[in-house]
Amino acid sequence: MRIEIPELAVVALIGVSGSGKSTFAKKFFKPTEVLSSDYFRALISDDENNQRVTSQAFDTLYYVANKRLELGLLTVIDATNVQKEARVSVINLAKEQNCHAVAIVLDMPEKLCKERNAKRGDREFEGHVIARQAEQLRRSVRHLQKEGFRYVFVLKSEDELSGVEIVRTPLWNNKKGETGPFDIIGDIHGCYGELCALLEKLEYTVDKENFTAAPPHGRKAIFLGDLCDRGPDNISVLRLVMGMVKTGAAYCVAGNHDVKLLKKLRGSNVLLTHGLDKTVEQIEAQSEEFIAEAKTFLDGLLSHYVLDGGNLVVAHAGLKEKFHGRGSARVRDFCLYGDTTGETDEYGLPVRLQWANEYRGKAAVVYGHTPTPEVEAINNTFCIDTGCVFGGKLTAYRYPEGEIVQVEARREYYAPAKPLTDKPVLNDDVLNVDDVLGQKYLATRLRRSVKINAENSAAALEVISRFAAAPHWLIYLPPTMSPCETSKLADYLEYPAEAFDYYKTHGIGKVVCEQKHMGSRAVIVLCKDAETAAKRFKVNDGSFGIIYTRTGRHFFENTETQNNILMRLQNALAFSGFWNDLGTDWVCLDTELMPWSAKAQKLLEEQYAPVGRAGRSGIDAVSGAIKKAIAVLGESVDNVEAMPGQRVDLDLLLERYQKRADALKLYTQAYRRYCWDVASIDDYRIAPFHILATEGKTWSGENHIWHMETIAKYITGTDPVFIATNHLLVNVLDENSVKAGVKWWEELTASGGEGMVVKPYDFIAQKGSELLQPAVKCRGREYLRIIYGPEYMLEGNLLRLKKRSLSKKRNLALSEFALGMESLERFVRGEPLYRVHECVFGVLAMESEPVDPRL
């Protein structure tokens, strides 16, 4: 016997104890597909025959079954299922999970079952239990289909059993193997002229006489339903679509109007409203033969298709993710009517829930049904009913290109019940906490999967909620940067040799050394104007850009200061022709903003200056006291034997305190270099070092010399606020070039410069499949005083400080870099806000990971 079951279904095995269900299940299904009540009894009570825990065992079984089905996995329920109540649970499970229920009945001779049970020995069933079960089964079999099992198979003997073959058939809506490309066409409503024009525009060869159209090579059309009603030539549309589907040139899904038409054709009494009257009038003039054909066609329309390996879903009114590839009355209704509440609005039309706002699936969902003036795209869903019959446009969505092709309606054929502009509010303004909270694995292009821990996202949620700017602006957060390996030289903690060495040992020849400006990291997003900000960033408060910190916070509390700086940048870019030459009306820049004191004022006032003050004055006082004590001792005679530690050499102590005093002075000088008072915008300095992204493009494909030169060409040099970054190209394989690099760094840092950042020549550097550090910093000795404290170079302190581990920092740097690049990439590709935000949020979450903050 050949048993055909859908690839996704709930399969109930039905049979009395000892009928061989478990053996059967073992033979035909994967062990993980089979959920046996005995197994669950044992799981929770250590005894598979413990009838007292039956109810708990089934709770657990159904919990697991639900999880499996949610993931789209076929599930077999191995229990006797001879009682109706037990089967109701199976049917309800299938309904809940929107898939079919299948019954496989093992109606074996009672004698055989009894014998088997007797042999097992571990069961204390009395014979009458089996007899009762057999009786229950006998009464049930006839009603199984009625109970809700879509497919029922009954096996009555060992012989029959041995001849069984189980075949799993794909669901009808599963067209995952079809990869397109497709031309998906929205609601036509009898607009035959526009349909032909659109197909021709899509380069189909249309034969209007014979109602066929041949697609250009390799393409296929998909019609989103609602072929008829309201429009001028419903019959021709029907004929053409039927023709195309017949020849395999097109797929078509059912629309609510198509379903209603079918009902009418089948003789049901339906109201001839919403334009159906016209269709009926036209169709009644057709031949019997055509009507029969149309009936068959409409009857065969599925509610949705899943295509291209699951990356594309088409349905008339859209479909939420958990319904993709499922089949049930609920799914069908969703496909036909959308996510309705049952209420009607002031126009008498059904109120629709905005499922698309919540949509988080990976498949693009292309649908129609709700006419809007323009294509509504949100969260990877596309509503392409642009109301042709109401005088709008007929739209095609080209997949996978994402291109929109349209023809204008020749006229308004039907007055809309409500204006097209009164459309449902689709927006992704408000993010969902589920998008960010809890443990996440983010897939990025550069690193396959970046894990975000729940406690880190909890910390990030607080920071982002309390301090960050609007998420629409935050398309990137900079990654942390690791220092080079610790220097082997006695007097240095960091030295360029190790930075060059890192890239050399990882197969990189050329590196770019960039001066590390001592300020604060600032990301600038600038639009040409406020309209661009509204259109591209969906920021509608009239702002045209933002300057934000590495944690996504407004850099300036004072918006006016920010805007003045942004305006000067706008001027610089307009003057240099940046917008035109790079073909964009916005840009995202990675920069360093100086002075350090601009952002670090509080830190300076509360930590850096006080430490210097306390250190200088405190040590002075101590030195004074020691000097006096030395003078006192000079007069004294102390002949008593002293224990160790009891006669301290005050001269040595004084010497030490003089060294400490010097260290404190150098420390104070070190932080003072990075501070100056800001009286006006002119006192700020901004050094851009990456052009991260512009419209439609990230610039990570360009090397760092390109970034430096392009920045010099377009951004710096005209306005003194925007400064170029000193840099040097070093060939790490060439000894002289390395020497020059070291010398460059020594000069830079001797005069108090923070140090340098060494980057691989290419923005994204890899060794094989391993992502390399996008940058490694090498900080100067003077600068490090403000990191490791005033006295870090005294008395062997350096030796102790050299014990440090970089591996965690480096790993974070890579993950954060991958996330940063990912968020930009997603943004320029026009992906939904939540997709961009999850990466940005991820960077912040990783930054809450405890790691030595001095690295």
Binding site: D429, V430, L431, N432, V433, D434, D435, L437, A458, A459, L461, E462, I464, S465, R466, A469, D541, H554, L604, E605, Q607, Y608, A609, P610, V611, G612, R613, A614, G615, S617, G618, I619, A621, V622, A625, I626, A629, V632, L633, S636, D638, V640, A642, G645, Q646, R647, V648, L653, T668, R672, D677, I787, Y788, G789, P790, E791, R800, S805, P850, D852
Partner: protein, 466 residues
């Protein structure tokens, strides 16, 4: 980092006997975080000065002794090695421990008598107003002199540093001077290097038993010494109060002038929460949610009301929620309490299904902590998506700030407030929100109303239209 003690009087060199430290022998002592030295910068029959130098190892401090990955308690850039902090108190008790007990074998009589003593504390971090130095030391009989320092002479606009060089002089027993210093040095510093635990209360009571109960600033001293950990303070208060029960004194909250405004606010807070509870009760709500519950002050009142069958507290801060759980004693709560109360980490600017299904929401002193630009997201999260039938929302009335002496020229009541609205601004906003999301709103004021400026807090009760 440096403490000197000067004894002026006949045979002043006897200071060496009292301290058990030979004036002609500089000594070194090993301590947990570094070393201490004792030497004498001045030795004569008329005047002798002993110096206690505390030499903290800055690297150990930051790394922890073994240089463990998690690091020590402090940053590398740290004032601890250069100031007189609780580390110095520890050093005093270690190095001058015997002197603190008052034992002085050969010079017991001297030790038992008040002497002319001067103590100089170098670089004492003093975050309170300097006036406080006098108010703390003068009642103990000291003459108080102190020098202040600019933070950085190159940047005069960064202002004064918090450090002072403090000199106190009195006719006092050496042991008392040491005890006073031991307790009072950490009082002026904000940081403490050891964790404050219950044994700290014992220590304070022991060392302060002779003088603290009578000190007019005892509440301040106790509070600061115990690092303002409220439950410890209460314990210490109670113990102090019972010690004074015979004279009927009851210890009240810190009577600090700068805190008077805060006292008022605390009082206001109680009234505010009372009004919110009343509003939530009168709307008949059974399931209530406190959005922005912080450490659970409102929750604590809500659980006492039988009317509320389900109570949820939402806050973005994990730490605040932990405190709330502690306050509600969730750890050992009964099953029915656990079923009734839930604490949720959530954000006011992210849509959250967990906010739905409540009859009423309280949003008490929360919106002013949001950037005004993010308010739009909050409005939708609460009024459009969570959509509770009733919202009770409070926010400060900025006009009333005129009555707070310490709020000058437009400064706000709390450092984290992003804005404060006057009455008309609040009403305009509330009416706009009500209109947009289909609510009606009723306004009321909380706290003593001022004729001109209204009450300190304004409340809006939003009711969803049928």
């Amino acid at each position: 980092m440096l403490l000197t003690i000067t004894y002026t009087g006949e045979s002043a060199t006897d200071l060496g006997y009292l301290l058990y430290k030979n004036p002609y022998r500089p000594q070194m002592f090993e301590l947990n975080h570094g070393k201490a030295y004792v030497f004498y910068p001045e030795v004569s029959q008329q005047r002798t000065t002993a110096a206690l130098l505390l030499d903290i190892d800055p690297i150990n401090l930051a790394r922890g002794k073994a240089g463990q990955a998690s690091g020590g308690l402090f940053d590398y850039v740290n004032d601890r090695p250069y100031v007189s902090s609780s580390f110095l108190s520890t050093a005093i008790s270690k190095v001058f421990g015997t002197a603190m007990t008052g034992r002085a074998d050969e010079r017991q009589a001297l030790s038992d008598s008040p002497l002319n003593l001067t103590a100089a504390v170098t670089m004492l971090p003093c975050r309170a107003e300097h006036e406080k130095l006098k108010r703390v030391f003068e009642p103990l009989g000291y003459e108080v002199i102190y020098d202040t320092f600019v933070s950085d002479e190159n940047f005069p606009n960064w202002g004064e540093s918090s450090y002072v060089n403090l000199t106190i002089s009195a006719k006092v027993r050496l042991r008392d001077l040491l005890k006073h210093l031991y307790v009072l040095i950490p009082v002026f510093d904000r940081q403490k290097h050891y964790w404050v635990g219950a044994d700290e209360v014992e220590k304070l009571l022991r060392i302060g038993e002779d003088w603290l109960p009578m000190h007019p600033e005892k509440a301040y001293i106790t509070g600061r010494y115990l690092n303002r950990r409220r439950y410890l303070v209460n314990m210490a208060y109670e113990r102090l109060a019972s010690a004074n029960a015979d004279d009927g004194e009851i210890i009240t909250a810190e009577p600090e002038s700068a805190d008077e405004a805060r006292d008022k606010v605390m009082n206001l807070n109680t009234r505010r929460l009372g009004s919110v509870v009343a509003a939530l009760k009168s709307c008949g709500a059974k399931r209530v949610i406190d959005i922005g519950c912080g450490e659970g002050n409102l929750l604590n009142l809500l659980v006492k009301e039988r009317q509320f069958t389900h109570i949820a507290g939402v806050d973005v801060s994990h730490v605040a929620l932990k405190r709330a759980a502690e306050k509600l004693k969730m750890e050992r709560a009964s099953d029915s309490m656990r079923e009734r109360v839930s604490l949720i980490q959530g954000s006011l600017t992210y849509k959250d299904a967990r906010f739905s299904g409540y009859d009423a929401a309280g949003v008490v002193e929360v919106i002013e902590h949001l950037d005004i630009a993010r308010l739009a997201a909050f409005e939708r999260v609460l009024f459009e998506f969570a959509k509770p039938p009733v919202v009770v929302l409070t926010t400060p009335n900025r006009e009333y700030n005129a009555n707070y002496e310490n709020l000058h020229n437009g400064s706000l009541r709390h450092a984290d407030h992003r804005f404060e609205w006057n009455r008309s601004e609040f009403r305009t906003w509330a009416l706009k929100i009500a209109n947009r999301f289909g609510y009606t709103v009723q306004f009321s004021e909380i706290g003593d109303a001022d004729e001109k400026y209204g009450a300190p807090t304004q409340m809006g009760v939003f009711t969803l239209c049928e």
